[in-house]
Symmetry: C2
Subunit: 335 residues, 2 copies
DNA sequence: CTGAAAGCGCTAACAT
DNA sequence: ATGTTAGCGCTTTCAG
C-alpha cells in the first residue's frame, strides 16, 4: 500500500541506505545504481516522507516569521508583506519554507522560546515592530539563528537588516542636483520619525557633497499627514527666495505639498520640482505623477533570507547591516 | 544534556507512555500524576520535540498556502495578504501553522503533488489566482483537504470560499434607498470583470426589491481606471434627468467619478451622492471621503481556515460557498 | 490508571 | 561503491 524507502530498496535490489543516498545525492553512489534507483522510485511513485526526514536529520528546513498581523495590516503596511514575499522566495530557493506567525510584542518572547525549545524551526525572523529587550536577550543568549527585519531602536547583539534611508536621501539630492536644481527644500517628519530623519540627513550629505547647502529655513518638519504637508509647504512658499525643488519625506506629506503648490498657483515642474520617496501608495494618483526614490523592500526580505541561511550554517556570524537597492523613478514632477 | 521524554519519565518515576499521555492531555491519567509529571517537565525545562511528534502521529499540523507572490503583489493586491493574515490567525487558533509558498499557475500542480505525496502538510489553501484544471483534478481525485480562496472561474468539485459581491451590491442599493435616493446610477467594469458584474446584479436586485428600476441608460461599463471612471461619469451626467446618486464598482472608477463631478461644478453630497465598494486604497484621500460598502476580506481567510480544518477532520465534506460580512461605512459622500 | 514495547520512515556512522 | 544497523523522540495499542 504505502510505499516507503524500504520498499524501494527491495524492488531495486539495494539497501535502504543506498536509496537514502541517492535521495540526498550522496557522492559515493555510482551513476548506474543511482539511475536505477531513481527509476524504481518513479515507477513506485515514491516520495520521501517529509516528517521522517526532519525527524532523522534533526532539522526542519523551516523558518518562522514573527510579526504583528492585526486587522488591516496588509492595507496599512503592505511594505511588510512585500518583505515577506521577498523573504519567502529567497528562502524557498535555498530549500527552506516560511511559516507565518502573527503575534504581538508581548507574546513574541514566549513563542520564540517555544519554537527554539521544541525545535520546530531552524531559524526565526522577527519584524522589528514586535522587537523587545527580552526577545533580543533570548535570541542572543540561546545563540539561535535569527534575523530582525528592520533595525531595533535599542542597542543589542541581535542580527538585523534594514534599508538605508540615509543613502536614499543622498540619492534624491544627487538626482535633483544632476537635473540642475540648486535651491532645494525638505519637508518631513519630526525627529522621532527615524525614516524621515535619516532621509533628511542623507539629503544634507548629498547636497554638501555637491557643494550645496541645505538651509535651515528650507527644512520644515511636522506630522506625516497630508494636512501637515500642506501647511509646511505653505510656510515654505511664503519665504523668499522660493526653492526650486522640494523633497518630501514620504507620500502623505507629498500629497499635501502638491495641493499647496497648486493652490498657490504654481506649476509642477515648470515653477518648482517635487520629489519624494516610495512608489507607494499614491504614486498613481498624485497629479502630476511624482519622481520618486523607490526602495526595493522586497530585496530586503531576500537579503534577510540569505543572511539567515548563512547564519544557520555559521552560527557565530553576526550581522547588523544596511542593505540598499533604491533607484530613482523619473516621472513628471521634475524637469 | 538534551532532555527527552525518556529523561522526564525517569525523573518522574513513571513510564514514557504516561508522560506522553500527560503531554497530550489523555483522559486516563490521574490528576495527581499528571500534576507531578508537569512539575518535572517544568523543572527539567522540557519541551516535546516537534519533528518527533509529527513523525509519530503522521500529521504535520501545517497548512500550506499556494499563491502568486511576484514583486509588488503586496502593493497591488493587499487584499490577498489581508486574507492570508485572517487565515493564519484562524489556523493558529485551531492548532495549525501556515506555510507561505509563492508559485505560479504552471508550477502549482507539481508543488501540490509534492506536498501531498511527501505529507509535508495536512491541507492546502490555494489562491484562486493560480487555480487551474489540472490542480482541481489533482485535489479532488486525491481527496486531499484543500480550500480555494476565491471562486474558480470554471466548474469543478473543489472546495472554495468567496465573498459575495452580489450581496454587497444589494447592501449598497438598500443603503442609498434608505437615505432617500431614488434615481440611482451605476458605473463599473465590463462583463468579464466578475466582481463588478456581481455588484451590479446585486444593485439591481436591491433596487427592484424597493420597487425601483435601474435604467439601462444609467448603467455605464468600462475599464476599471480613473480615466474611464471620469469618462463614464461625464457621459452619465450629460443625460437628463440627472441621477441623484452614483454607485461606483470600485475605487479606481470612483476616483475618476469624483473628478468628473467636481469638474462639472456639482457638489457631493449636496447635488449628488456617491458610493463605492472597499475602503481601500483610496478612501482616505478622495475628497470628500466616500461612503463605502466595506468587505471584510480578513474574515474570508478566517472562514477558510475554519472550513479547512473541518475538512481535515471530515474528509468527505464538500464546501462551495459564499461568505459575507460586508458593512456600510458612512462618510461624507452621501446625505 | 499505568507500563511495556512495537513501530513511525529516514539518516548516517561504520563496516565491508 | 554498497550494506548493516543503530538510533532520532514520540505515540499508541495492548496488557496488566
Amino acid at each position: 500500500m504505502k510505499v516507503t524507502i524500504r520498499k524501494v530498496s527491495e524492488v531495486a535490489g539495494v539497501s535502504v541506505s543506498t536509496v537514502s543516498k541517492v535521495i540526498n545525492g550522496h557522492y559515493s553512489i555510482s551513476e548506474k545504481t543511482a539511475e536505477h534507483v531513481r527509476k524504481v522510485m518513479e515507477d513506485l511513485n515514491y516520495y520521501p516522507n517529509a516528517s521522517a526526514q526532519s525527524f532523522a536529520t534533526g532539522d526542519t528546513k523551516t523558518i518562522v516569521l514573527l510579526a504583528e498581523m492585526s486587522p488591516n495590516t496588509a492595507f496599512r503596511n503592505p511594505h511588510m508583506f512585500e518583505i515577506v514575499a521577498g523573504l519567502e522566495e529567497s528562502l524557498r530557493k535555498r530549500g527552506y519554507r516560511l511559516v507565518l506567525h502573527g503575534t504581538d510584542s508581548t507574546s513574541a518572547c514566549a513563542l520564540a522560546k517555544d519554537i527554539i525549545s521544541r525545535k520546530s524551526a531552524d531559524g526565526i525572523a522577527v519584524h522589528v515592530g514586535i522587537m523587545s529587550h527580552p526577545l533580543a536577550a533570548l535570541l542572543t543568549q540561546l545563540r539561535f539563528p535569527h534575523i530582525i527585519l528592520g533595525m531595533p531602536d535599542f542597542d543589542s547583539q541581535v542580527c538585523w537588516i534594514d534599508n538605508n534611508n540615509t543613502y536614499s536621501g543622498t540619492v534624491a539630492a544627487s538626482y535633483l542636483v544632476s537635473r540642475g536644481y540648486r535651491n532645494i527644500a525638505f519637508i518631513g517628519g519630526k525627529s522621532y520619525d527615524l525614516g524621515s530623519t535619516h532621509r533628511l540627513n542623507g539629503v544634507k550629505q548629498g547636497l554638501t557633497g555637491s557643494g550645496i547647502q541645505l538651509e535651515d529655513k528650507n527644512i520644515w518638519l511636522g506630522d506625516s499627514t497630508r494636512a501637515e504637508g500642506y501647511q509646511m509647504t505653505v510656510s515654505l512658499l511664503n519665504q523668499k527666495p522660493l526653492p526650486d525643488a522640494i523633497i518630501c519625506a514620504n507620500n502623505y506629506i507629498a500629497l499635501g505639498c502638491v495641493d499647496a503648490i497648486r493652490d498657490k498657483g504654481m506649476k509642477i515642474p515648470k515653477d518648482i520640482g517635487v520629489m519624494t520617496f516610495d512608489d507607494y501608495p499614491f504614486s498613481q494618483i498624485i497629479e502630476p505623477q511624482l519622481t520618486v526614490v523607490d526602495i526595493n523592500v522586497r530585496d530586503m526580505g531576500a537579503q534577510a533570507a540569505k543572511f539567515l541561511v548563512d547564519i544557520i550554517r555559521h552560527p557565530n556570524m553576526q550581522i547588523q547591516t544596511y542593505i540598499t537597492t533604491s533607484n530613482v523613478i523619473t516621472r513628471q514632477s521634475t524637469k
